[in-house]
Symmetry: C2
Amino acid sequence: MSDRSRNSRRSPPTIKTLADLSGYSIGTISKALRGSPVVAPATKEAILKIAEEVGYQANARGMALRTGKTYQAAVLMPVTAVSDYEWDGVEYTQILSGLSQSLEGSEYRMSVLTIRDAEDGLEAARRVVDLGLADGLIFSGILQDDPRINFLVDAGFPFVSLGRCRRELDYAHVDVDNEWASHAATQRLISGGHRRIALINPRSELCYAADRVDGFVRAFEEAGLSASIDLIVGGDLSTRFGRESALDLIERNDPPTAFVCVNESTTLGVLSGLRDAGMSIGSDVDVIAYDDINVSAYFTPPITTFYQPIEVLGRTLGQFLLKRMAGEEPGALKQVFRPKLIARQSDDLGKKQV
Amino acid sequence: MSDRSRNSRRSPPTIKTLADLSGYSIGTISKALRGSPVVAPATKEAILKIAEEVGYQANARGMALRTGKTYQAAVLMPVTAVSDYEWDGVEYTQILSGLSQSLEGSEYRMSVLTIRDAEDGLEAARRVVDLGLADGLIFSGILQDDPRINFLVDAGFPFVSLGRCRRELDYAHVDVDNEWASHAATQRLISGGHRRIALINPRSELCYAADRVDGFVRAFEEAGLSASIDLIVGGDLSTRFGRESALDLIERNDPPTAFVCVNESTTLGVLSGLRDAGMSIGSDVDVIAYDDINVSAYFTPPITTFYQPIEVLGRTLGQFLLKRMAGEEPGALKQVFRPKLIARQSDDLGKKQV
DNA sequence: AATGTCAATAAAAACGTTTTTATTTTGTTT
DNA sequence: AAACAAAATAAAAACGTTTTTATTGACATT
């Protein structure tokens, strides 16, 4: 009974091993393991027992070749186009974390492809589909007319986007209600007496940039005022951009008295700029930011934010993707989250509000 | 000549397709594509031409099954153990970004496994090795005696760690010279007249926590002073931890007059705490932080930091891993980076220093 | 002219599955 | 008791590669 006599000690057990051990054929083993109803209950039980004993784990490569599936969910992660390693507040870690939570129980693993922009993302998506690199796709940074969504809908490939495009297409997505949040923030400032409000926005191709503009304008319209659209700026989401925008805006003829920022990194920049311009936030200027990682509480001064934990979005993305990969139609796989207002001392509007 | 006459239009070309088209056998095709020297130059050329024409791309699953390789590099990404979605400043996005840059030209892709801690990471590492989920592994958050390193060295599995353990083992790694940076920061503050210096550290099991303590103590010793080791605190890297530590320390009998922080998120918390305690940073207290994503410049006040772009670490990790996966010994694959001092107004020590 | 060597290629086997098709066994019906 | 159906399992084929082994033909050697 040498070490390699029965089945070699070194290499992990395969279906073949189980067949030898149990006396059943490999086909029957496979069916038993997959829980096929054609195999007799007693047989299935015996096979599962042996599999358990020898610690059998299906070989992913064998399965992949046979089924054509990869058991991988791919994520397109934008590598920050911002130079000099500036913080741009895009917390992909949280997305990945939430996603992996949803994938945990399943047989799917997570692979990450880095992309530079949506166009580059289209390339990546094509590779994923053509080469079968993954069974499903997750991505964000959706444009108003997004090439990836167009391509994937057309190809019938399972995906869930973080964000919506403006075309009337049926696809699974998760999003933040940016129009609503922008409206709410702007309204807050308007009812606090502000008339000249700046909107620090992402690049205008991004769909949610437009959503925020919509909400911003609507708030003015509802108050019977004309919106300060000349104070809308768009750019990368870096702290530097926030700072430079603030410094620029404050120099203008009819400068803003309040700011609505897109996220925490730009907010930090705006605060830095206002401070250096000698403004005191909260008296001279109000800032309302969208909050990503709950850090605004520690700014100087603490900032009123609309808070939406990204991890929750990530979890939902994962749940939806699993369903899509299981063949479910996108119809019901759509969810838009409303961030929660967290009022802090950066504005004094709380008491005047409902 | 129907649509599916020659080779079905729909499914991508395989080696078989090329064999039919070229008249050579599939074995020869395979060798030609891999650049084997046994195939005649003219033959190889002809085959490559056809492959190019039909847009042949090797099927990863077929290769994987046959070779046992996955062409995947796995990354163990810690999912923040910090509750309530606090920022902990662990910029894994940057690591992934740098890593993917290095992997770009290669045939390797990147897969991400989330883990809760080093022990959980050991589980993941076992899965990767036993199930052949990847051909190489990257991870960080190294403990003084790290179970993952022990296991992988023993298993002879290719990996590169971000950080070093304290055991004398031969393994590829990339690290920041934390002892040096901590020493330099502490020395700066000492020569600025500070004697009671706080050290905001990560959890003490982490190896680099010990490194920082070492450098901290050495700076005091070299100045002939006794180190303020009672002012060393360790915890998660959240902003909240920084804030609470600062508030706690400042209340003590013999409070610190300066802070050395582990990263930007804790620094932000320390600043927040000090502000609320009524201290003015730069006059009452100095803060020196290690900088991860270059955001300290925008704090109130701007903070002096030791700056090391994480993306560069990620790139190096990738380069080393490729070499390890190609069979290279770990001997030469070790690099320790010294972060760069960026003096800002949070301390007034610049002029007194060399 | 028979033999051996080498280069080039073909053929076959293998990787570990799943799925389709074939075979055996058992039980039921007439 | 023969014929058939159903259930259970076995056998074979297939997925797309790489690698090992076999075959062919050309050429050099004796």
